[in-house]
């Protein structure tokens, strides 16, 4: 099918873009990579009157890595972030997760910021933003603001972003020293949306677990984190029974049954992947420390 008619806007600056967004209000949509929005337009699940195509806006294509974290501009494609050596060195979780976002061809066009603005709980990068405790930088004609991830995701495909706001970048803060991360998911076919996925971060201090946290893909309504530090604090990673988090994971996830898998199967997958990624993250933490 084809999209319904719309008016196309091609701003060249952030100010121009936010001016148009303020002008068209609820009838406008930002177009970034289009890898989520254009399918919705083609299927006429969305028919905004105005598309604000930000692909020509200057200053949104940078990946900045410094001592505090990785800042990803709104026009950075998934593939660019995945390949970036400095981003990988600072935050390996980015590449660990990006390798699971769709197929390479979709990653060539889709933006990481777009997938966060889209707020699909089946998306990998919202879960990564949650686990890092990231920030969303939003610009608007009447003022800019920064939104902490905990205040950003409200529900399925729902965020606290206002129609007149443009996300200019997201920031993924670094984990504390001694942290290892891991990401795993299962899909019907590599590159498809996950039946269930898990990101884990384990911090080892003086040879014992100081912190252990998880976030989930496709099995919760809203991307959020589960802190399982209590279960493992003070244990040497080799001595930890990572499966001991299973009850907490079961209680945390709320998967749904669909064409591809039952809720029960997804919960089982999430539980299994959770302890495996914790073990892998702990082992990566030891490698980082070594």
């Amino acid at each position: 099918m084809k999209p319904a008619p719309f008016v196309h806007h091609a701003p060249r600056t952030v100010d121009e873009a936010t001016a148009v967004l303020a002008d068209v209000g609820h009838d406008g949509k930002v177009l970034a990579g289009g890898q989520s929005l254009i399918p919705l337009l083609n299927m006429r699940l969305a028919s905004p009157g105005h598309l604000v195509d930000v692909n020509g806006v200057c200053g949104l294509s940078d990946i900045r890595v410094d001592g505090s974290g990785v800042r990803v501009g709104a026009l950075v494609r998934h593939a660019e972030l995945e390949r970036d050596p400095r981003a990988y060195a600072a935050l390996p979780l980015l590449r660990q997760a990006l390798a699971h976002v769709a197929h390479p061809v979709i990653r060539n066009r889709g933006t990481t910021v777009g997938s966060i603005a889209h707020a699909d709980a089946a998306g990998e990068m919202p879960a990564v933003l949650a686990l890092t405790g990231g920030l969303v930088e939003a610009a608007a004609a009447n003022g800019d603001r920064e939104v902490a991830v905990a205040d950003f995701f409200l529900g399925a495909l729902e965020t606290s972003l206002r129609p007149e706001e443009l996300v200019v970048a997201v920031r993924f803060p670094l984990f504390p020293p001694g942290t290892g991360t891991a990401f795993a998911e299962r899909a019907r076919r590599h590159g498809d949306y996950a039946l269930a996925g898990v990101a884990a971060a384990v911090t080892i201090v003086d040879g014992v677990v100081a912190r252990a946290r998880l976030s989930f893909v496709s099995v919760t309504d809203v991307p959020g984190t589960l802190d399982v530090t209590e279960e493992f604090a003070g244990l040497e990673p080799e001595a930890a029974h990572w499966r001991d988090c299973s009850d907490r994971v079961r209680a945390h996830v709320a998967p749904e049954t669909d064409l591809h898998a039952t809720a029960e199967y997804r919960a089982m997958l999430a539980t299994e992947l959770a302890w495996r990624t914790l073990a892998e993250a702990a082992s990566n933490a030891l490698t980082v420390a070594a």
């Binding site: 319904a4 719309f6 890898q35 254009i38 337009l41 083609n42 009157g49 195509d53 692909n55 061809v105």
Partner: protein
């Protein structure tokens, strides 16, 4: 509803296979339809129009992308290569030649998307393993071949490219 009463028409010029191609089109014209209907290059096929089948894949500044998930007006910023740009009237490109030799196609509907995807893949990875070849085509659907001969074609194309250099 919110739809504008008068359809917005735009003068769009996209560089396709090295030549600027112009048409006056609605803002909502997908790149896939621009190529097929406005430019007349019907090699790019359209299967699903939501990014899943891969038949419409073209090269955008050399990188494979779905032409059904880009508007023609946005594509003006890039150089687009379609399946027609992979060979010439005098001869087939190495990937096309390999698909011919290895029976990498039956009905041919999916083939343009495979050819463009594989062409870009071999630029990044000129000597892939069978596993990497499978992974490279995992975003493209084929309803005929069962994929075995497509995987063989990818590996054969790598050989042909190596011989040519």
């Amino acid at each position: 509803m919110s739809e504008p009463m008068v359809e917005q028409l735009l003068d769009v010029t996209v560089t396709v296979n090295g030549r600027p191609r112009h048409a006056r089109v609605p803002a909502r014209r997908l790149l896939s339809d621009f190529l097929r209907h406005d430019v007349g290059l019907t090699g790019t096929h359209v299967g699903c129009e939501h990014g899943v089948c891969g038949a419409c894949t073209v090269l955008v500044d050399g990188a494979p992308m779905r032409s059904c998930l880009m508007f023609a007006v946005t594509a003006q910023a890039y150089a687009v290569t379609t399946v027609e740009g992979l060979g010439s009237m005098d001869g087939l490109g190495p990937v096309q030649q390999a698909f011919l030799e290895c029976h990498g196609l039956q009905c041919g509907f999916c083939t343009p998307g495979f050819l463009t995807t594989v062409t870009a893949f071999l630029c990044d990875n000129p000597d892939p393993t069978e596993g990497q070849a499978r992974e490279a085509i995992s975003g493209n659907l084929c309803r005929c071949t069962g994929y075995q001969n497509i995987v063989r074609s990818v590996l054969r194309a790598a050989e042909l490219r190596a011989e040519a250099t």
